[in-house]
Symmetry: C2
Subunit: 496 residues, 2 copies
C-alpha cells in the first residue's frame, strides 16, 4: 500500500459510514415511527463518533503527511490530499470539550427557540442564543488560529471553503445598491399587468406525486439511483448512488411542492453527477454550499420558473389534474411562479427580495462578530437593517430575528451561501446559454439533456477538484459577480 492509498482507505471507510448515516437520517425524517427515535439517536451518535474517530484520527493525520510527499499523484489525487488535509485540520482544531459544549448548547438553544418563536419571546431565547454564539465564535477562533484565516472566514469555510468577506461584500453591496429602484419598477410593472388567473384546486396528492416524478425524470433525475418521498421538512439526502429526496404536499396548492421538488432535483442532479471514481473521497464530494445551491437554483429559478418551462409543463399539469382553460397556459402559470412582494419571512420570499433577507443576516453576523452589535440589540438592528434594504419593518420578532433556525443551532456563516448560490446559478445558466445556443427553446421542447450534460461537464463532474472560484471561472469566464443575476431579473420581471 502506498502512502496515498493508506489515506484513501481511511477516507473510504469514513465515507462508507457516512453513507450509512445519510440513509438512517433520511429514514428518520421520512419513514421511522415515532417510537424509534431514542434507539435511532443511539445508532447515529455511535456512527458519528466512529466517523469522527477516523476523520480526526492520528492515523489519518500521519497518512496525509506521508501522502503529501508522494510524487506519483495525478492532479485529482493531489487535490484529494489537500481536501483531506483541509477537513482534517478543521476536525482536529476544535478541542473535544468545546465540541461537546457546543453540541449541548445547540441542542438546548434549539429547544428554547422552538418555544420562543411561536411565543414571540426573544428575551426568553437570548441567553441560549448567546451561549450558542459564544461557542460558535470560540470554535471558529480555534480553526482560525490553525489556518490563519480571519475569524468570520474560518466560520464561513465550514459551509463554503475559501469564500472571503471581500468577495461577499462586493456582490452583496452591488445588489443592495441595485435593489431599491429595481424593486419599485418590478412592483409597478407587476401591478400594471394585474393578477394572474387563479389555479383552482384541490389537487389530488397522488396525482401531484406522479406528475412531479414525470417532470423529475424528464429533467434528468435518475430513479435507478434515487427516490422521492414525503417528510415534514423537504430535503435532498442519501448518497450520490442513492439520492433520497423528500417533499411535502398540500392539496389546495401544487405550485409550492412542485418548486420544492424541482429545487431538490437540482441538488440531486449535482450529487448524481459527482465522479464515481472518487466516490467517498473528499475530492469527490460536492464543492460547497454555494455551488450546491447554485445547482438547485439553476433548476428551480433559471429553468422551472421561466415562461419557457411553463409552456412545456402546462399541458402535462392540465392533463394530470384534469384542468383546462385560460388559467392553464404557460404564460399564466409562469406569472404564478414569478410573483414579487416585500415580505418579512425569508423562506417565503421571491427571488428578487430574497437576497435582501440574506444580506441583512450577513451584515448582522459581521457586526456581531466584530463586537459592533450585541445580541441583546438584535431586534432593533434587524428592523433597521430590513427597512434600509426592503423598506419594511417587522412588528414582531417572530417575523424578525426569531424566524430562522440557523443561529439557534449554531450555524453562523451559512446564510450568505443562499444568495451567492442564486447569483452563481444565473452566471452558470448564462454561460450554458452561450455554449448551447437557444436553451429556452430547448426547455420549451422538454429537452433538458444538453443543459444537464453541460452542468455535469462544467460543475457536477468537477466535484472538489478545484475551488469554487476556479470551477466557476473555468465554466463562466469569471469569478462570482452579481451581473448575470441582475440581468436575469431585469429580463424576467421588466422585459418579460
Amino acid at each position: 500500500m502506498t502512502n496515498y492509498t493508506a489515506m484513501e482507505a481511511l477516507n473510504a471507510k469514513a465515507g462508507t459510514l457516512s453513507e450509512a448515516l445519510s440513509i438512517l437520517y433520511w429514514d428518520q425524517q421520512s419513514m421511522m415511527p415515532s417510537g424509534g427515535g431514542p434507539s435511532r439517536s443511539d445508532q447515529t451518535a455511535l456512527l458519528e463518533t466512529m466517523v469522527h474517530d477516523i476523520t480526526a484520527g492520528r492515523a489519518l493525520g500521519e497518512a496525509i503527511e506521508a501522502a503529501e510527499g508522494d510524487n506519483a499523484l495525478n492532479p485529482w489525487q493531489r487535490a484529494n490530499v489537500e481536501e483531506t488535509k483541509r477537513s482534517y485540520i478543521r476536525a482536529t482544531a476544535i478541542p473535544s470539550d468545546l465540541v461537546a459544549a457546543k453540541s449541548k448548547a445547540e441542542s438546548h438553544a434549539l429547544a428554547i427557540w422552538q418555544e420562543a418563536r411561536p411565543n414571540n419571546d426573544f428575551a426568553a431565547a437570548l441567553p441560549a442564543l448567546r451561549d450558542c454564539f459564544n461557542l460558535a465564535k470560540q470554535a471558529g477562533q480555534a480553526i482560525a488560529d490553525k489556518t490563519g484565516q480571519p475569524l468570520y472566514e474560518a466560520m464561513i469555510d465550514g459551509f463554503e471553503p475559501g469564500l472571503t468577506v471581500a468577495q461577499i461584500d462586493a456582490v452583496f453591496d452591488d445588489y443592495a445598491a441595485f435593489l431599491p429602484d429595481f424593486l419599485d419598477d418590478v412592483l409597478a410593472a407587476q401591478q400594471a399587468r394585474g393578477e394572474p388567473l387563479p389555479l383552482d384546486g384541490p389537487f389530488d396528492i397522488q396525482t401531484q406525486r406522479h406528475v412531479f416524478q414525470d417532470i423529475m425524470k424528464a429533467v434528468g433525475f435518475d430513479f435507478d439511483h434515487g427516490r422521492l418521498d414525503t417528510s415534514a421538512h423537504p430535503f435532498c439526502g442519501g448518497t450520490p448512488a442513492d439520492v433520497r429526496m423528500t417533499t411535502r404536499y398540500r392539496d389546495e396548492d401544487f405550485m409550492d411542492a412542485m418548486m420544492g421538488v424541482l429545487h431538490e432535483t437540482g441538488h440531486a442532479l449535482y450529487e448524481q453527477g459527482l465522479p464515481k471514481d472518487y466516490a467517498r473521497q473528499p475530492v469527490g464530494l460536492a464543492r460547497g454550499m454555494v455551488l450546491h445551491e447554485s445547482q438547485s437554483l439553476t433548476i428551480e429559478m433559471q429553468v422551472v420558473r421561466s415562461r419557457a418551462f411553463m409552456n412545456y409543463a402546462a399541458p402535462m399539469l392540465a392533463k394530470a389534474f384534469g384542468k383546462s382553460g385560460p388559467a392553464w397556459t404557460g404564460e399564466n402559470l409562469s406569472r404564478h411562479a414569478a410573483r414579487v412582494e416585500r415580505s418579512f419571512i425569508r423562506v417565503e420570499a421571491d427571488e428578487v427580495t430574497y437576497p435582501a433577507h440574506v444580506i441583512l443576516r450577513y451584515r448582522l453576523e459581521k457586526a456581531l462578530l466584530s463586537g459592533d452589535l450585541d445580541l441583546a440589540d438584535l431586534p432593533a438592528a434587524w428592523g433597521d437593517g430590513l427597512e434600509a434594504l426592503l423598506g419594511i419593518r417587522p412588528k414582531t420578532d417572530r417575523e424578525g430575528c426569531l424566524q430562522d433556525i440557523h443561529w439557534y443551532s449554531g450555524a453562523f456563516g451559512y446564510f450568505p451561501t443562499y444568495s451567492l448560490g442564486a447569483m452563481c446559478a444565473a452566471q452558470v445558466f448564462n454561460a450554458a446559454r452561450e455554449n448551447l445556443g437557444d436553451v429556452e427553446a430547448q426547455i420549451e421542447r422538454g429537452e433538458f439533456a444538453p443543459l444537464v450534460q453541460w452542468l455535469r461537464d462544467n460543475v457536477h463532474g468537477k466535484a472538489s477538484s478545484g475551488s469554487t472560484d476556479e470551477i466557476l471561472t473555468a465554466a463562466t469566464g469569471s469569478g462570482l459577480r452579481a451581473d448575470a443575476f441582475k440581468a436575469h431579473l431585469r429580463k424576467r420581471y421588466l422585459d418579460g
Copy 2:
C-alpha cells in the same frame, strides 16, 4: 466500571451497530433503488465487519472471563454472561479463512441455484452445493470441537440453541407415525364437506393494506414502534423499538397476503415484547427460531386461521372490499384458510402436511452428515422420503430438492425449527387457553389483549433468560411434544 459493565458496553456497541444494519437491510429490500446496490453492499459489509470485530474480539473475551467471576450479578445478568459467552465461542470457533471461504461458496452456490432451479438442473447445482455442504460441515465441526456438541447439534445450535437430535426425533417420529391415517381422514372429511364458496376479486391493494393494518392494530402491533411496507420476499426486520414488517400483494387474492401479514405480526409481537431493560444484550434477544416461529404461528395458525377469528374478521373484510352474501361468512372464510392437500412445495403446504416436508429435510440432513447419503443421490432419496411421508413423489427436482434456498446458502440445521415452531405454537396456545378461559370467544369478540399479554408474560418478556426448554416448561408444564399440535389438528380438521 465493573467487569460486568465492560462486557455490557461491548454488547451494546455491537447491538447498536446491528440495529443500524437491520434498518439498512430493510431499506435494501423495500425502498432502495436498484442502483444503490453496490454502495449498500459496501456499507453493510463494513458494519458487519465492525460487529464481528466486537463480538469475536479479544476485548469481549476478556470481559466475559472477568464478568464470570463477578458475584454481584442478578439472574438475568448471569444469563447475559452465559449467552454472551455462548455466542462468543461460536463466533471465535471458526477460523477467519474458513469464514471467508464459506461466505464465498455460499454466494456462488446461491447464484448457481437461482439459475438451476428454473432450469430444473440439479446436476448443474451439485458441485456448488457440495462445496457449501462441506464448508458448513467444517464450520460445524470447528464449533463442535470447542463446545463438545455432536456435529449436527452444533449446526442446529446456530438457529435454536440447545436443541438436541433426541428431542427432534421424538416429536418428528411421533408426527410421522400419526400423519398417514390422519391425512386420509382429513381429506375424506374435506371432500364430504365440498368446496367453499369462491371469494371473487379483484381486491384493491390500498384497501388490503388498510384493512390488514386495522387487523394488525387490533391484534396488538404497535405502530408507534413499527411499520408495514412492501417487498418481494415478506419478512419481519428492523429492531424491537422499530419493527419493519413487509408483505406483498396480489389483487386477485387477499387471503395469502393477509396470512403473511399476520404471520409476520406474530414475529413482530415477540420483538416488540422483548424486555427493554436488556435491549442490545444477548440475554434480551429473542430466544431462537423455534420460539420465534411459535409466535408467528400462534398468531397465524392458532388464531387467524380459526373459525373464531374469521367470525370476527368477516364483517370487516366484507365491508372493506364492498362484498356481501354467503361467501363472506366466518365459516366460509375459515374453510378457505384451512384447506389441506398433498403437494410438493413446502412453502405452499398447509399446516397438516407441512411437517412432512420438514421431517423429510431433517432426515436427509442427518443422513448427509452421517455419510449415509451422498449429495449426488439427493433426488432419489428425496422422492423416496416424500413418498414414505406423504404418498406422493415429485416428477422434477424443481418440485423436489431444488425448491428451497436454504442448503444452497449454507443453512443446514434450520429446517427443523419450522415444524417445531408449529408444535410449540399449539402447546403454547393450549396453555394460554387453560389460563385465560374461553380464548376462542375472546378472539371472536376481537379481544386479543389477554392472549398477547399472556404471551408477553410467558414468552416474549423472557427473551433469552432461560433455554427454550425452560421457557416452554414454565409456560406450558412440559417440554416440547407433538400432542397439543395433533389435538389441535384433530379438532380443526375432523371435529370442526
